[in-house]
Amino acid sequence: MDELVNWISLRRLRVKREQKKFLDCMGSEFAEEFLQLLLRLMSLFFVLNRNFRRNIQDFNGRYLFKSRDNRITVAAVFKNKRLKVYKKEIDNTNVTITFRDSKALMNYLLSPKPDILGSLLRQDVVINGNLNYVYKFAYMAKHLQLMATGKA
């Protein structure tokens, strides 16, 4: 029992730490680590927050995020109520999201509001695949942002 309490406490501490890093990143000029931090925080919240976990209850989704200059390649796989993150290309994706830079991806998903159409129009982000998977991811990211800032 003590181990479980310790584990939960440690997780919570880690969430707080990741949350702070995430919010700091959002406020920074380049937001280089935005995607990694977002996915890490998302992954933690899926473990600790039952209501947030409902988002992936029966959800299978394979996402590939790539920066236009190929410096960033990250895959996110949602399966069995878990999110797994890989720093490599994967096959059979539902959607591939190619972005100009991390800041553009952040603006696309979160800041100052979910701006999917705007990013498409500015060609900051190019989507190849099922748009509904993007909408769902953007919803989860936005919800996470609101939770991290105490607004949800």
């Binding site: 979910p114 159409l117 498409l120 129009l121 060609q123 509904n132 909408y135 953007a138």
Partner: protein, 826 residues
């Protein structure tokens, strides 16, 4: 035959003060906040997900989903309206259509209630239902994603999703049309069900039932199921109204509920017997149509003609007076405003402000070619004048040989008093345009306006008039850059049509432009065809089909081409800017050799910074569309003709032709924000001119402008045009006469459509600075009306900078010096 019995066609005895019910209902309407309504999405999804299987024929499965919703749809009475029925479960609701565009708000579920532009309230329970239950079901099943999977994410879809070349409205396949309510009102929905049942039985009698016959059986079955859903909703309204009558303390409310209970017992199931029953039946049918199809420009059509027999009969019996007729029509006008579109915030910012644009058409001639103006025409004009609501989009048909001058003058007066509506359609030309599209004369004469400005033989022609919105400036940029476009970077988008720096003549550039255009139109049509086929596989419209001539006779759903006539519409953004840029290029590079093509490109890339002299030349010395310059006339005609021939060469999935048109809603503002500088002197990221209207401030003389636009080959514009003009003021009888005569002059020149804003530059600038003072200021955008405050900044600026003409002199009024930076060329 004209049947005007009113002593005073202006109905001067009635103002909004004399009609307290309408006044109160209007105040209610303006005070309401829009809310997301998930009722439809919930029931339709529930049926498809939990109560049926995908093995069932799609025709009956979707009909049952619709009937399931209509039977469970809550019967709500939010106010003292004389009409029963609501589009949504909210007083002012935005219904969610997850199979079409509804999924686009998913990322915004947390923020949609508080967003800056046109927020839509969404409560937590409904937010969670959308997020956890409804949207997940549609992830692979909505029209867009079903099509993507089926067609392997084709190139045309990827180009569409860049959004800067064309928009192939996935919702456009079933929307933007004018159903026929006549049979439903005269005979009732039970009659239509009976007709479908008889047809079904006839087919079943055959010894061998072919595959085709099986489809017909499913269609007739689906029609019966869907219509039974509409009847169930009517019965629920009747029951609830009776219960409310029992509880009401106020005698007037009690009487109204009792009356509505009685009316909904009769309609829409059975024939309407009075004007009130007819209007309520029509409204319940409209609600049912929106239960099946998206709320975009489902247009009620010629209501002064459809409802006249009921009005005449009531008047003959003495059972209705003018005040009651005004109230009934007013209640319908306000009911048509009870819903709005569900759009994501970026779409609101770029393209927003539109209502649902249910167009109502009045006046003109009848099927026999006689004056059709009647008492209801004037009653509808009066209601429009006093209510000044965004919807319905009122369109006045005018036949200069058949309609009386006093009608034209009255229409002009209503425009002045509302500052914006109605729009005017030229019967003489419109009818010829439709005849040229193969519509029989009597059917062409019975045309009504769809949504913005498009024409349809009401209830006979299924035109899907908003299928494609194509950006002509994007094509121009592709031709200028050998198939690339600045906004999409170094990516080869269109075909390689050569480096224009090497072109020796304007004709070579024109050939390159045409090749790019052929390619882009081909892509847009290919995608629209894919969407059409998706509808044919998964999303039929049996209910809407039953309100058209053709489907019930042939046993064929609208989406399979069941209507008597079929077409798909393609409208164009940036027409005037494209023509003026062609003019500028031809003159500056090839005629006067003021600059080389390379120098021109350098100036455009620099947004004219450091190229001020060339900019001034392009602005002031090159020909402008809307003037009498022969070069401008040649290029505008060539473009119109080329597009017409190009589109008419295609046949759509329903067997009809593609029809080009020139109306832009608010897309000229949004697309303009995403385009670079142009040879006509327009700077980067500035709005384009709207519809078929000349570029703001380019056509200085009104008379020449009207002749120029009216002189375009109207037969080449079968999907309609929007000419937007502005007068700073029309004061007194003399001004009003001149204004009315200008309308006459334009229609005699051959123009299809014209609409006005009667507001000065100064008034509009003040409205932008002080929105609180102009809460219900109505403006014409490009085919529809909007509240000025609901528009995005770019669209506000576009309306402000539109050329304003002095009604006395016909010359452009000077633009205020202090605000010249608002002009696209400054």
């Amino acid at each position: 035959m004209s049947t005007v019995t009113l002593k005073d066609i202006r109905l001067r005895d009635y103002s909004l003060e004399d009609l307290p019910l309408l006044k109160r209902l209007k105040e209610d309407l303006l005070s309401r906040n829009a809310e997301v309504c998930i009722e439809r999405a919930k029931y339709v999804t529930e049926y498809l997900k939990d109560l049926s299987t995908e093995n069932e024929p799609m025709e009956t499965r979707y009909a049952k989903a619709l009937a399931h919703f209509l039977a469970h749809k809550e019967a709500l009475f939010f106010d003292d309206s004389l009409l029963a029925g609501t589009t949504t479960s909210k007083p002012f609701g935005a219904p969610v259509y997850p199979e079409l565009t509804g999924m686009t708000i998913w990322p915004e579920l947390d923020t949609i209630s508080t967003r800056d532009k046109n927020p839509l309230l969404l409560n937590k329970a409904e937010h969670e239902l959308l997020n956890f239950d409804i949207f997940p079901y549609w992830m692979e099943r909505n029209i867009l994603e079903y099509t993507r999977t089926k067609q392997h994410n084709p190139e045309c879809m990827r180009i569409f999703e860049r959004l800067v070349f064309f928009i192939a409205s996935k919702a456009g396949c079933i929307s933007h049309t004018v159903p026929d309510y006549k049979v439903a009102l005269e005979k009732g929905l039970e009659y239509l069900i009976g007709e479908a049942a008889v047809k079904e039985e006839e087919i079943k009698k055959a010894a061998h039932i072919t595959l085709e016959a099986r489809k017909q059986i499913f269609f007739y079955r689906a029609v019966q199921i869907a219509l039974e859903g509409a009847i169930a909703y009517g019965k629920n309204l009747s029951k609830t109204a009776a219960e409310l009558a029992g509880k009401a303390q106020d005698p007037l409310q009690k009487e109204n509920f009792s009356k509505m209970a009685e009316i909904c017992k009769q309609v829409p199931a059975k024939p309407a017997r009075t004007l009130r029953e007819a209007i309520n039946s029509l409204w319940i049918i409209q609600v049912a149509i929106h239960a099946e199809n998206i709320n975009m420009a489902m247009s009620p059509g010629r209501l002064d003609q459809i409802l006249y027999r009921y009005y005449e009969e009531d008047r003959r019996k003495g059972s209705i007076d003018i005040k009651e007729a005004l109230e009934l029509v007013g209640c319908l006008w306000l009911k048509l405003n009870d819903n709005t579109n569900l759009v994501p915030e970026t779409a609101e910012e770029l393209f927003g402000g539109a209502g649902t644009v249910p167009a109502v058409t009045v006046g003109g001639i009848d099927e026999r070619g006689e004056d059709a103006v009647n008492d209801l025409t004037y009653i509808m004009l009066k209601v429009t004048e006093i209510l000044k609501t965004r919807d319905p989009s009122l369109n006045a048909r005018y036949h200069y040989e058949k309609n009386p001058e006093e009608y034209r003058d009255r229409v002009a007066e209503v425009i002045v008093n509302t500052k914006a509506v109605p729009a005017i359609h030229n019967d003489v030309v419109d009818i010829k345009v439709l005849e040229n599209q193969g519509i029989r004369t009597e059917h062409a004469r019975d045309y009504a306006v769809i949504g913005c400005v498009e024409l349809a033989s009401a209830g006979r022609s299924y035109d899907a008039s908003s299928s494609i919105m194509l950006n002509l400036v994007s094509v121009f940029e592709l031709a200028m850059n050998n198939g690339k476009r600045p906004v999409t970077g170094d990516e080869q988008i269109g075909p390689k049509t050569g480096d224009p720096c090497q072109f020796q003549s304007f004709e070579q550039f024109w050939e390159a432009y045409k090749r790019q255009l052929e390619w882009l139109v081909g892509e847009a049509i290919e995608l629209n065809e894919y969407f059409g086929r998706t509808y044919q596989e998964i999303l039929p419209s049996p209910l809407l089909s039953s309100f058209f001539e053709g489907p019930l006779q042939q046993g064929t759903d609208l989406i399979f081409g069941g209507a008597l006539y079929n077409s798909s519409g393609a409208t164009h953004i940036g027409f005037a800017d494209t023509v003026d840029s062609l003019n500028a290029l031809e003159k500056a590079v090839f005629q006067t050799k003021k600059c080389t093509f390379k120098q021109l490109m350098q100036a455009l890339e620099a947004d004219f910074k450091g190229h001020e002299e060339l900019h001034a030349y392009l602005l002031n010395k090159t020909p402008k569309y809307g003037t009498d310059d022969p070069l401008a006339k040649k290029n505008s005609q060539n473009l119109i003709r080329f597009l017409y021939d190009l589109y008419q060469g295609y046949t759509n999935y329903r067997g009809g032709k593609y029809r080009p048109g020139y109306w832009t809603m608010t897309n000229h503002a949004g697309q303009g924000k995403l385009s670079g500088a142009l040879p006509n002197g327009r700077k980067a990221n500035e709005v384009f001119a709207s519809g078929i209207t000349p570029v703001s401030q380019a056509a200085r003389d009104l008379s020449t402008c009207l002749q120029s636009v009216g002189g375009l080959e109207s037969s080449c514009i079968p999907s309609g045009e929007a000419l937007n003009l502005k007068y700073p003021y029309v004061r007194g009888k003399e001004d009003l006469e001149k204004f009315s005569q200008a309308i006459e002059a334009y229609v005699r020149c051959g123009g299809l459509h014209i609409q006005f804003n009667i507001m000065s530059y100064e008034d509009l600038i003040d409205a932008k600075s002080h929105p609180e003072k102009y809460k219900d200021l109505l403006v014409r955008v490009s085919g529809y009306s909007a509240y000025f405050n609901d528009l995005n900044e770019a669209m506000k600026d576009e309306i402000i900078t539109r050329t304003a003409y002095n009604v006395g002199t016909g010359q452009a009024a000077p633009f205020p010096e202090n605000y010249r930076s608002m002009l696209a060329t400054e």
